[in-house]
């Protein structure tokens, strides 16, 4: 199975949910400037923090996964925004200089 394609990512989300796991889907909904992944790219996350797909090519996945686990707990969708990384503060962000907005929702 090609785990890089969206088909398999969403199929896996369904399979995880069917197996009784809490699942969230994070989707890039807006981008400004140079963004690593196009609008519509998605990441699926299970309650244990396992994930497939990508929303940024690695820069912010860690933070998105943490937020997604919260969303699985609360059931409330969340809009996240990531801008340029601040190296001195170790804040997560995009080193490419763009900004992305990521919508995270639970699969009920």
């Amino acid at each position: 199975m090609d785990l890089a394609s969206d088909t398999d990512i969403l199929a896996r989300a369904e399979a995880w949910r069917e197996a009784g796991k809490g699942v969230a889907i994070a989707t890039v909904v807006e981008t400004w400037g140079s963004a690593p992944r196009p609008v519509g790219s998605s990441l699926v996350i299970d309650e244990d923090g396992n994930f497939l797909g990508s929303v940024s090519g690695g820069c912010v996945e860690g933070a998105v996964v943490t937020e997604a686990v919260d969303v699985i707990g609360s059931g409330e969708p969340r809009m996240l925004e990531f801008g340029v990384a601040d190296e001195t503060a170790w804040r997560v962000g995009l080193s490419c200089g763009g900004t992305i907005r990521v919508y995270v929702e639970k699969v009920d």
Partner: protein, 233 residues
Amino acid sequence: MKLATLKAVNAARAARRPIVLVTDVETGEERVVHEAAAGDPLAAAVAEQLRKGKSAMVALDGRRFFLTVHVPPVKLVMTGAVHISQALVPLARLLGHEPIVVDPRTAFASPERFPDVTLVAEWPDVALPPLGVDRYTAFIALTHDPKIDDPALAHALSRDCFYIGALGSRKTHARRLERLRAAGFSDAALARIHAPVGLDIGAISPAEIAVSIVAEITAALRLESGEKQARAA
């Protein structure tokens, strides 16, 4: 997202049915909209994004909706179980495309040469109709043999596949165009064929030619016609 919605999206993808998932990003409300979405308040935006094959945020009556566009993965149909196709199959897979190889010559179309790929050892008139060549299909003729490539190209030209390519020198292609013209295809129809196939990157080896072909297919898939003209200029 409701599990039922996710299932509907996955079912549409599996059936190669283009759809748009509309999500109100404030409330989380959602619906799956099909191509002929008559009556949907966002029908025009849905049709536009489907045409472009791109997801987007849109606003309507002060509400913001995200349209996730799901168009089928590209089917890459090629005639000719040749060296170039041997290189094309893994490249196509890497790009998320679905490769299918057609060649009536069973010595070429052997599972040993093409493991784990849909391989149809039939003549194009038998092999192609059941494959469902559609507008999400890229078609390539690679045999160098008019007996196989010509009827295959005729089939591709009769469908709205987004890319048609044919291997062969300019001379070979000129003769091919003459035959297809004699078979009743107009110059406008024949202009859809990219030949010599692939972007001009100086490719020599079968693997390099395969790279030039998938690059040209990517351009056909992703660039809007205006962008293509701008880059060609």
